[in-house]
């Protein structure tokens, strides 16, 4: 299985959706909760723009890398022809729509005079298509003949990757630009705590995977089942996740957001996710012969 390109495709795509929702949540926080001075509203837009402009190249890179796992990349456009049945087709369509809407959103920030009218519609479209993209991506793997993957753990794992990476990038962007402003501090803390929670749940899911491994190869009635082999390098995954949680909580606890701590946490989280994702593909065990 040519999984290397798929590992990076899924990680980059999930990070892109997470970062996008990080930008959207910043706008919602600013509008509803943070009591940001009118003079600072522009800074919210700038932070959102930076997050959008981070998310867009991530998804573009993800799709470019995904071509590497195809035997005939020049026929990649045909992957959208079985929307009625194939979750892979749906994943591609929703992913491309998400990228399109995200691109329009990013363009509306860069060229506001041209795209101001589309800003809200583009963001709404990107939000809906982004969620559909993540769900379809998980369903690609949740096939009835691949028992270790066919559980809600797959979907939760993908969603939590998006949440943790998106929240960490959001907190990092806020920490780089005027970290001492009170609203930046509040929003950054919320992002950091969200990232810590998502990483903690990821760590629990990995531990659960070790303690309660999936059963493989459903056989005929009366035949014994086998346990899935333990996830490779799970110790490294748990160690990186734990360190990422500790550094992000430290960053949230300190009076000023330190971008260095958040960057360290992000790198640890990406390392943990990459090792875990390789382990996910290594756990492939199809029923039958």
């Amino acid at each position: 299985m040519k999984e290397r390109s798929l590992v990076w495709f899924t990680l980059l795509a999930q990070a892109s959706v997470g970062v996008f929702f990080g930008a959207v949540s910043l706008q919602l926080l600013a509008a509803l909760a943070l009591q940001i001075p009118r003079a600072d509203r522009l800074m919210v837009d700038v932070r959102s723009a930076i997050l959008m402009l981070t998310a867009f190249p991530l998804i573009c890179l993800a799709f470019l890398i995904s071509l590497a796992h195809l035997g005939a990349p020049r026929h990649a456009w045909k992957a959208m022809r079985n929307l009625g049945q194939s979750w892979l087709s749906r994943e591609i369509v929703f992913g491309l729509l998400y990228a399109l809407f995200l691109g329009l959103t990013a363009a509306s920030y860069l060229f506001s005079s041209l795209f101001a009218a589309t800003w809200f519609t583009a963001q709404a479209g990107a939000a809906i298509c982004g969620l559909a993209f993540l769900y379809s991506m998980a369903r690609v793997y949740m096939q009835r003949t691949i028992l270790p993957w066919n559980s809600s753990r797959t979907l939760w794992s993908f969603l939590l990757t998006a949440a943790s990476l998106g929240a960490l990038v959001g907190a990092l962007v806020l920490a780089v630009y005027e970290p001492e402003a009170s609203w930046t501090r509040t929003a950054g803390t919320m992002y950091a705590l969200t990232a810590a929670l998502a990483l903690a749940i990821q760590a629990f899911l990995r531990l659960w995977q070790v303690l309660r491994p999936a059963r493989t190869n459903p056989l005929q009635p009366g035949q014994p089942r086998r346990q899935a082999p333990p996830a490779p390098r799970i110790g490294w995954v748990l160690a990186c996740l734990l360190l990422a949680i500790l550094t992000v909580l430290l960053a949230a606890w300190l009076p000023v957001l330190h971008w260095q701590l958040l960057l360290a946490s992000l790198l640890l989280a990406v390392t943990a996710e990459a090792i875990a994702r390789f382990g996910f593909y290594a756990s492939y065990n199809r029923a039958g012969i």
Binding site: G71, H75, K78, R81, L88, N217
Partner: protein, 206 residues
């Protein structure tokens, strides 16, 4: 009439004439096996006092695409390259294939095979073009033991009440394969603890 294969494991000698006939008929390249003969082996020797006892067993399974009634490959293929004929034959159009190998991920019978030269997938097509002209599939014609037959799925099930799922084939409820198997007596002893595939390097693509 939904076509199906009937395989009598009691008579299969593992000669692989079916496998070779298929390769010859469809000019398959090296490494591509639309029909594969699996050798299931198990058992061992145990000492009992001064004597040795053995419970060694072996049998063969000739498996191609089973043209399932609920083909998971059709649901999976993003390009719509896999379709089902009215007679139940599942066809893979290699020209429409992207080579993403998703069908190979999900098929529980390793039916779709990836050709590294063309970078596309291919699989058993039940010799559809021969069937349409009234001829039998090449594998059925080649079997010297008459262990392979083809015909109506329901008729086989009615004619062979002794047929049942055989290790290591998966739960037929997963994809409802159009395959009826009369098991070899040795398969009673076979399970994940006692048996193994004796020719994995021969039947699995690297």
């Amino acid at each position: 009439m939904p076509y199906a294969f009937y395989f009598d494991a009691r008579f299969c000698s593992g000669c692989k004439a079916c496998q070779v006939a298929c390769k010859d008929r469809h000019q398959l390249p090296v490494g591509i096996l639309w029909r594969r003969v699996y050798e299931i082996t198990g058992g061992s020797w145990r000492s009992q006092g001064a004597a040795w006892q053995q419970d060694i067993f072996a049998y063969n399974l000739s498996i191609a695409c089973n043209h399932c009634a609920e083909p998971v490959c059709v649901e999976a293929c993003p390009a719509g390259a896999i379709s089902v004929r009215p007679d139940g034959i599942v066809l893979l159009d290699s020209d429409q294939c992207l080579g993403c190998r998703y069908c190979a991920w999900v098929c529980p019978y390793s039916a779709p095979q990836f050709d590294p030269l063309s970078q596309r997938m291919s699989k058993c097509n039940f010799c559809a073009e021969d069937l349409d002209q009234g001829r039998a599939p090449a594998c059925v014609l080649a079997c010297p033991m008459r262990a392979l037959e083809f015909g109506d799925r329901e008729a086989f099930a009615a004619r062979h009440p002794e047929a049942q799922p055989v290790f290591p084939l998966p739960d037929p409820g997963l994809t409802r394969p159009s395959l009826v198997v009369t098991p070899h007596a040795a398969s009673d002893h076979a399970n994940t603890q006692t048996a193994d595939l004796g020719n994995a390097e021969e039947v699995y693509q690297p």
